[in-house]
């Protein structure tokens, strides 16, 4: 059951390691942003110029991954002062694109880029929020869409448990009556293994999905990797299709790990 501390629920948007893109799902609402302000009491939203980062709230939207020591501490404080913690977007739900460091030598990467790494507060990993604190709801996507976030907030503020999206991009192509780019044009597409939410944008403009919403339930990555191979992709490129924006998600990292770049004998 959804219960708020305030009659008009209070909302905070916190940024961690990210590109700011998911917060734009709110800032791009246009005049609807002012409507949203009637529905929830926005307490903290630095990108919109509203600052009260330590205030206790009903709904805390978290954009970004945990990649510094200070972020590890800050997310604990937010968990303590927030009724519902919502992981917003690929960085918060899977560590984001910057999680590619997790499978590399991040220490060497930092040392080769910065003249003095002692001035940095940077961990060698980028991890999703749920590896640090309990998360109540997740919204996938890179970025999350306006519609997705508004649908979610409307359900939550009506005290209805938000319905998760758990079908694949493939199914949205069928609904949109978009011809399958992989079947009709032999374009490699991550749609079969990727969670919907974007309304299947990429196949609509004649290109393959690249998995920015992360793995869908029961993703058959083995079959897709085989199909990519049939389409002429190299093992390295197949591996990289899984090691993209959601490389830290277990379904995608497992898929990448199962591809041995030097071995083509099991074809």
């Amino acid at each position: 059951m959804i219960i708020f501390k305030q009659e008009k629920p209070t909302l905070a948007i916190h940024k961690f390691t990210s590109c700011d893109g998911c917060q734009l799902a709110l800032l791009n609402l246009g005049p609807d942003l002012l409507e949203l302000a009637k529905l929830v009491d926005i307490k903290h939203f630095a990108e919109a110029g509203i600052v009260a980062s330590e205030e206790s709230v009903d709904i805390a939207l978290i954009e970004g991954s945990i990649s510094t020591r200070s972020e590890q501490q800050r997310i604990q404080r937010i968990r303590q002062t927030s009724k519902y913690v919502i992981a917003l977007g690929a960085c918060a739900t899977s560590g984001g694109i910057q999680a590619l460091r997790n499978i590399s030598n991040a220490e060497a990467w930092l040392a080769s880029l910065y003249p003095d790494t002692s001035v940095l507060d940077s961990l060698t990993t980028s991890t999703p929020i749920e590896e640090s604190v309990r998360v109540d709801f997740t919204l996938r996507g890179c970025p999350v869409s306006c519609q997705q976030l508004i649908d979610f907030l409307l359900q939550l503020t009506q005290k209805i448990k938000p319905k998760p999206i758990d079908h694949s991009v493939c199914q949205d192509c069928k609904r949109n009556q978009t011809s399958c780019v992989m079947v009709t044009k032999q374009i490699p597409c991550m749609g079969p293994v990727t969670q919907a939410g974007c309304n299947a944008l990429c196949p609509r403009i004649n290109r393959g999905c690249f998995g920015c919403y992360g793995p869908t339930k029961q993703a058959n990555t083995v079959a897709l990797a085989k199909q990519f191979k049939n389409l002429g992709m190299s093992d390295k490129d197949i591996k990289n299709s899984f090691l993209h924006i959601n490389s830290h998600s277990s379904a995608f990292s497992t898929a990448a790990n199962s591809i041995n770049e030097d071995d083509s004998s099991h074809e």
Binding site: S126, C142, F210, C212
Partner: protein, 258 residues
């Protein structure tokens, strides 16, 4: 005169993250630190070894507010390596695409971040109560910018339309006509915004900091040109790094510009 110490942990008037530490002793500034920070995300390293075709999708994630800037830099860099000469139509469409981002990003910055300070409000939602027409005009122009990006890139944040040598799919004539008519309708709003911005009371400030810019003959430079500096420095893009090294400008230890 008493000492003043001001610490602002989150500066709400910058895109991204910022903080300010100011200490005044005996009426003069003892220390002043403006921090614009984002934890390292290591694009410089994880891009290495990726297929060139992946770059527009990967580099967009540097910034959600200005992904087009990075997509344009990436495709133009790779295209120049391949000696690809952009046809005029592609030059124009990419310029339109990029202008969309400027319109969206500047509308956001002016109305949500800057204007509340000029007019004495703590944030845009408070400002909208007394200046609804200005805020609505800003949001309308921001939406036009987003429409332009969406027409060519399918979505406004991390658009997916750009590829090496062109676009994955060109917009239909009908969608361009619709876009054109909404742009034409919004021209009075853009002019009103300009008049309004000029009327805001601004402090007089002249900077002595070395500032650099692109310069291009015949058009406002956003997608091409040389790098220029007020003190006479000019550099072609390809020799940028060596030109900057010769200036001996101070580079902070946390910078990756070395």
């Amino acid at each position: 005169m008493s000492d003043i110490n001001i610490q602002v942990p989150i500066l709400a008037r910058v895109e991204g993250e910022g903080a300010l530490d100011l200490s005044i002793r005996d009426g003069s500034i003892h220390s002043l630190k403006l921090k614009i920070f984002e934890p390292p995300r290591l694009f410089e390293k994880f891009l290495v070894g990726r297929h060139a075709d992946e770059l527009p999708d990967l580099v967009a994630r540097i910034c959600g507010i200005c992904p087009v800037a990075y997509q344009m830099s990436a495709v133009h860099a790779i295209e120049s390596l391949a000696d690809f000469k952009r046809p005029a139509w592609l030059h124009d469409l990419r310029r339109l695409f990029y202008c969309g981002e400027w319109i969206e990003s500047h509308s956001l910055h002016i109305h949500l971040l800057a204007a509340p300070d000029f007019l004495g409000f703590s944030n845009v939602i408070d400002m909208a109560k007394e200046h609804p027409e200005a805020v609505n005009r800003g949001l309308t122009l921001q939406a036009i910018g987003n429409d332009i990006i969406r027409t060519l890139g399918a979505r406004s944040v991390h658009p997916v339309g750009v590829k090496m040598g062109g676009f994955h799919q060109l917009p239909s004539q009908q969608s361009l006509n619709t876009l054109l008519s909404s742009i034409e309708k919004s021209i009075p709003a853009a002019e009103a915004l300009l008049t309004w911005c000029i009327s805001l009371d601004r402090p007089h400030y002249e900077s002595t900091l070395p500032s650099v810019s692109l310069s291009s003959h015949g058009e406002y430079p956003i997608n091409q040109g040389n790098i220029i500096h007020l003190r006479g420095l000019t550099s072609r893009l390809k020799t940028m790094k060596s030109t900057f090294k010769k200036t001996k400008w101070h580079i902070q230890p946390h910078s990756t510009l070395t």
